[in-house]
């Protein structure tokens, strides 16, 4: 019997009941096979790629019907949270670009989406005697956190951005750690059946991580970017896809793989401003493109976008930092120093701002 601090992820097809009703048994089974294969490929590759040993040592996962369960307990909670977010985004992306959904998209029908719920909490692992008796000595994982995560996952149907919902436990940890670039909606207090009280639930509104695409299984990477690009040309693109796509363009730009990618990124970024409700991250991406894109370099425009971001989120550290850098590059030393001081005012430990202020002080 072992108690662990686990990060739990539940995911399933949001409209599976509806699909089961409308499709023939064979069609539903074909879809489910495709769905399970996609989940298997993504999750098994991901855990191996990020060094999880599996077999109950630091992780456990299973697929049953249209439901995926993942338990991560590597003893580094932030690593587990980041991986749970990555898995949730990756399975959504892989399912969106699956053969089944590509066919649905080509027929201009609404694709079936995956909803996910993630939370952290204590679980207990134990091998039940009855499992030993039937020759399957796998441990059972139990705990309130699991029940709660399942309820949180069911709330994903009410989401409209990533449709990845998280519990208060995970939300608080992410607020404490600035190493995961994830933002959440305001809390929605929901009453869940059997829990008897209101539970705050947060929806992921942006998750920026360069490894979403690069850590995909090789078999799924082929043509993936083109499929995502096709998806955003759709009449009703999913907002989160823009963030994934724009981040992948930045990686391409960074590795000099495509010199004109900044032009394409700028165009998609402008489109994203109209579609994505949560705009600060899009403003920051557009600002970054105007600083680093060879074809679209324009410091005034970059400054404008970071300013827009700060208009919505005055404490956005990324926008504050980039704005300070632009001022420095423009030779506005006093304003740049002031901008770095502003960062330190919010986060006294900010390494770049601390170093810059020290440099200014020693230069005087």
């Amino acid at each position: 019997m072992k108690e662990s601090n686990a990060t739990i992820l539940f995911a399933d097809l949001m409209n599976s009941t509806e699909l089961a009703k409308n499709l023939t048994l064979q069609e539903y089974d074909d879809m489910l096979v495709n769905f399970q294969d996609t989940l298997f490929e993504v999750v098994s590759h991901h855990l191996d790629y990020f060094g999880y040993k599996g077999n109950g040592i630091d992780s456990e996962w299973s697929i049953s019907g249209d439901e995926l369960r993942v338990f991560l307990y590597s003893e580094n909670i932030y690593f587990d949270i980041s991986n749970a977010l990555l898995i949730a985004t990756k399975i959504k992306l892989a399912w969106l670009s699956s053969n089944y959904n590509q066919k649905v998209l080509s027929e201009q029908r609404l694709v079936s989406r995956i909803g996910a719920g993630i939370n952290c909490g204590k679980v207990i692992k134990d091998v039940r005697p009855w499992r030993v008796k039937i020759g399957k000595a796998e441990p059972n994982i139990e705990g309130y956190a699991i029940n709660l995560t399942k309820r949180i996952e069911s709330a994903s149907r009410e989401g409209n951005v990533y449709q990845i919902m998280v519990g208060a436990s995970l939300y608080k940890r992410c607020q404490q750690n600035s190493q995961i670039n994830v933002t959440f909606s305001k809390a929605k207090s929901l009453v869940f059946k059997g829990l008897g009280q209101k539970i705050p639930v947060y929806e992921v509104t942006s998750f920026v991580n360069f490894e979403i695409l690069s850590s995909m299984p090789v078999s799924l990477q082929k043509g993936l970017l083109e499929k995502i690009e096709n998806t955003v040309r759709d009449a009703m693109p999913e907002p989160w896809v823009f963030i994934v796509l724009l981040r992948s363009y930045i990686s391409k730009l960074n590795s000099n793989n495509d010199e004109d990618v900044d032009l394409k990124a700028l165009e998609i970024g402008q489109q994203a401003l109209e579609v994505v409700e949560y705009k600060p991250v899009i403003y920051n991406i557009l600002g970054w493109l105007h600083i680093n894109g060879k074809n679209v370099r324009n410091l005034e425009m970059a400054f404008h976008y970071f300013d827009q971001c700060l208009g919505l989120q005055p404490k956005n550290e990324a926008a504050l930092l980039n704005r300070a850098r632009i001022l420095e590059e423009m030779g506005q030393i006093d304003l740049a120093r002031h901008a770095y001081q502003e960062i330190l005012f919010q986060n006294q430990q900010h390494p770049v701002a601390r170093r810059k202020i020290a440099e200014y002080q020693s230069a005087q």
């Binding site: 600035s178 190493q179 670039n181 920026v208 991580n209 360069f210 490894e211 981040r247 930045i250 990686s251 960074n254 590795s255 991250v281 920051n284 991406i285 970054w288 990324a318 930092l321 980039n322």
Partner: protein, 169 residues
């Protein structure tokens, strides 16, 4: 049949035959005379020729003797010089032989030493080559490791750079 026995009726015929015989005899005598004369002349010519030949031979002998004398006179000092040269050559040969012997005496141990050194150098060379070969393999292995390490570093650099960008968006 003799002349006496000839019939008298045939006097003229006998006379004619006698004249023919006489003429033939005279002719023979004349021919013999001329032949003797010719032979005498020939003998005289031969004697003269023999005499001339003897003179020629004598002259030739004289000339040969003169040439021999002259040659002798001319070659005698040369022969002396040749003798002297030969003596010198012999002396040189003797000295060379002595020198060769002396050299052999000295080169023998030197050759042995060189052979020994050569063997040692060869074995050292082999050892060095082996070491160099091993070193080369080691260097190649290390180069591969460094290359792999450089790739790892590059990956890490990319990872850090990308991670940094994530946090600046």
């Amino acid at each position: 049949m003799t002349l006496g026995e000839l019939p008298t009726g045939g006097l003229y015929i006998d006379l004619g035959l006698g004249i023919v015989v006489f003429l033939l005899l005279f002719y023979e005598i004349a021919v013999q005379y001329r032949t003797r004369k010719k032979i005498a002349e020939l003998e005289k010519t031969i004697v003269t020729f023999q005499h001339d030949q003897g003179e020629v031979l004598k002259n030739l002998e004289d000339k040969a003797n003169t040439v021999t004398d002259m040659l002798f006179a001319k070659t005698k000092p040369l022969a002396n010089k040749l003798n002297e040269l030969s003596k010198r050559a012999n002396a040189i040969l003797e000295r060379s032989e002595a020198f060769r012997q002396e050299l052999d005496d000295k080169v023998g141990p030197l050759q042995a030493a060189i052979d020994d050194t050569n063997t040692k150098v060869n074995s050292s060379h082999d050892a060095v080559r082996k070491v160099v070969q091993e070193g080369k393999s080691e260097i190649e292995r290390m180069a591969k490791e460094v290359e792999g390490f450089a790739e790892e570093i590059q990956l890490m650099k990319n990872f850090i750079r990308e991670g940094k960008i994530d946090l600046e968006l």
